[in-house]
């Protein structure tokens, strides 16, 4: 067991342009702690490094390799890959874990090719047995559990956002400066960054603990306010079916399902959603599913732990006032 404790697991943590450590940090370090010693790599914007390193320690990093990009750096992905390669060479890890985010996927793809290691993606967990590291996947919308491994070398693994419940206890990390020479490979240039206008008080859909989603039965963009009202009482994220998105009730980023966001929250409340197979593929691994639909034959009832056949415009307001009363 002592050998287990020293196995370094390299974890790439993402830092936003404003210096915030991505929420995926906790699950990445949690997964790493399960199979070895979490070693974080942080490549932050100029001036943001120390705070990000402290935040990584609070989420369980035992060691942090830290670099800051030059002020005004605007090259897509390159710094992250070059820095991660340098950290990989220094640490010689048993595995490399990266978020399955847009940025993380780009880094993982380039990193695997550059270091010629096998790549396993969209993992919902990692474990270890006598023969090495086992990577857990949930495929076809959660219909199957698949385990993978690499034949040899260092597995490069992307971890699904919100897919891992493991957490590692806070640590007091050693912080080392990571120096590397940029390879200057051809890359896209970031011309500008526009911060989003979203209400910061509401949790992001991806990785949310609770989700309230609306579908065709909501009927209009105006009436979607009811979905949002319930979400806010529950502190939940807001989602939608493809029909609701295609009908223009809400922006595309709300879409839950096969081609939208996949969620696995503790609680998923489906309002006026029929439960088409592509929608179920994005939410059926939720711990508890609640559905309200006026059609008693709606497919969503087949997988709902609690189903209400009724008009959501009478049931939801009653639910909201009952929950509000309980809070007060």
């Amino acid at each position: 067991m002592t050998e287990l404790a020293v196995d370094p697991i390299l974890v790439l943590l993402s830092v936003s342009p404003t210096g915030e450590l991505a929420t995926s940090a906790a699950e990445l370090l949690g997964a790493a702690g399960r199979i070895g010693t979490p070693v974080a790599v942080i490549i932050a914007g100029h001036g943001h490094g120390p705070d990000a390193a402290t935040a990584a320690g609070a989420r369980g990093a035992q060691r942090v390799l830290l670099a800051e990009t030059p002020d005004g750096d605007s090259v897509l992905t390159s710094q992250l890959v070059d820095g991660l390669v340098a950290a990989y060479e220094r640490v010689n890890p048993s595995a490399v874990l990266i978020s399955h985010s847009i940025e993380g996927r780009d880094v993982a793809g380039r990193f695997a090719v550059r270091t010629q290691n096998a790549l396993a993606v969209d993992a919902v967990g990692v474990d270890r047995d006598d023969e090495g590291i086992i990577i857990h996947h949930s495929v076809y919308g959660g219909a199957y559990d698949v385990d993978s491994a690499v034949t040899f070398g260092t597995p490069v693994v992307t971890i699904r956002e919100g897919g891992v419940e493991d957490r590692t206890a806070a640590a007091n990390p050693t912080i080392e400066s990571l120096e590397y020479v940029g390879t200057g490979r051809k890359a896209a240039t970031i011309v500008s960054f526009t911060p989003e206008q979203a209400r910061p008080s509401r949790p992001a859909l991806r990785g949310a603990n609770r989700v309230v989603a609306g579908g065709r039965g909501v009927g209009s963009a105006e009436d979607f306010a009811l979905v949002e009202q319930l979400a806010d009482v529950l502190g939940a994220a807001v989602g939608a079916s493809r029909v609701a998105v295609d009908s223009g009730y809400v922006p595309h980023s709300y879409q839950v399902g096969q081609t939208g966001v996949s969620v696995a929250p503790q609680l998923y409340i489906a309002l006026g959603i029929s439960g088409a197979i592509q929608h179920r593929a994005g939410m059926q691994t939720a711990k508890t599913i609640v559905a309200i639909n006026k059609d008693p034959e709606a497919l969503i009832f087949e997988i709902a732990d609690f189903g209400v056949v009724g008009d959501l415009f009478t049931v939801v307001p009653q639910l909201v006032s009952a929950l509000t009363a309980k809070k007060e």
Partner: protein, 257 residues
């Protein structure tokens, strides 16, 4: 301009998809085989550019089994110029590294100014292949774009980033991937379907591309597969005027609020 579009044959998501529990591979007989919808959108981007730029050639590239030409014809019927199919038994169950290496060799063989792909496939959900190809070829990638502008010398577009949106540009040659925000694919016209029958699909194997699938390199392999038990329905009530209250009680009792 020479544009390669990466497309993929996938099990249709309009029915339950199955994995073979012995091999971990997709059960190909369980579903209709279709072009992945996001790949069709990528084809649409390329052919709408070609319509306004007559000197454009659009090649659809895929690797997959012998059923692929039938699905590839749909892209040709939409208006792509020709198809390129990498067919080899050794690709059955290919991992991401072998897939990326194969596609990189194929695009090198075809030659290109721009490669367009969908952001993620509905079956693999990986979304890493474009960056892997870019690394193999030493070109820029711009992935998961919600908008795309193509000029003679570069591409530009927007994508989501943590806390906002970034605008990107890259010089050609480059590889991009697009999201569902781009326009729907057109339906092939009758004329297009007839024309597609005469279009060429080049088929090559791995040896032809100089790839050894059995090379002694690390591979990702499936070691276990199990079907998750189907969810069963729980309590179902019909609203008698009190369902909102009952639901609130259920959530509170189960510590869900």
């Amino acid at each position: 301009m020479k544009i390669i579009v990466l497309v993929k044959e996938v099990p249709d998501t309009y029915a339950e998809r199955r994995l073979n529990l012995e091999t971990g591979l997709a059960d190909r007989d369980a579903n209709d085989r279709v072009l992945d919808e996001i790949g069709e959108r990528a084809v649409e981007v390329a052919i709408s550019y070609a319509e306004s730029h007559p000197d454009t050639e659009v090649i659809v590239l895929t690797l997959g089994p012998q059923t692929v030409p039938a699905t590839l014809r749909k892209a040709l019927a939409m208006g792509a110029t020709s198809g390129f199919h990498v067919l080899d038994d050794a690709l059955l169950g290919a991992d991401l590294m072998l897939t990326a290496e194969t596609l990189a060799k194929a695009v090198e063989r075809i030659g290109f100014d721009l490669i367009i792909a969908g952001d993620t496939s509905t079956d693999g959900n990986a979304g890493v292949i474009p960056a892997m190809i870019a690394e193999h070829l030493g070109i820029a990638h711009a992935t998961t774009l919600n908008s795309l502008e193509i000029s003679d010398t570069d591409i530009g577009g927007e994508r989501e980033a943590s806390g906002g949106t970034i605008t990107l540009t890259a010089s050609l040659p480059a590889i991009v991937s697009i999201t569902e925000r781009l326009p729907d694919a057109r339906f092939p016209s009758f004329k297009g379907i007839m024309a597609a029958k005469k279009k060429t699909i080049v088929t090559v194997d791995l040896a032809n591309l100089g790839i050894d699938a059995d090379a002694d390199v690390p591979r990702s392999i499936v070691i276990a597969v199990s079907a998750r038990p189907a969810r069963s329905a729980g309590i179902k009530i019909v609203d008698d005027g009190n369902a909102g209250q009952q639901l609130a009680d259920y959530l509170i009792q189960n510590r869900l609020v």
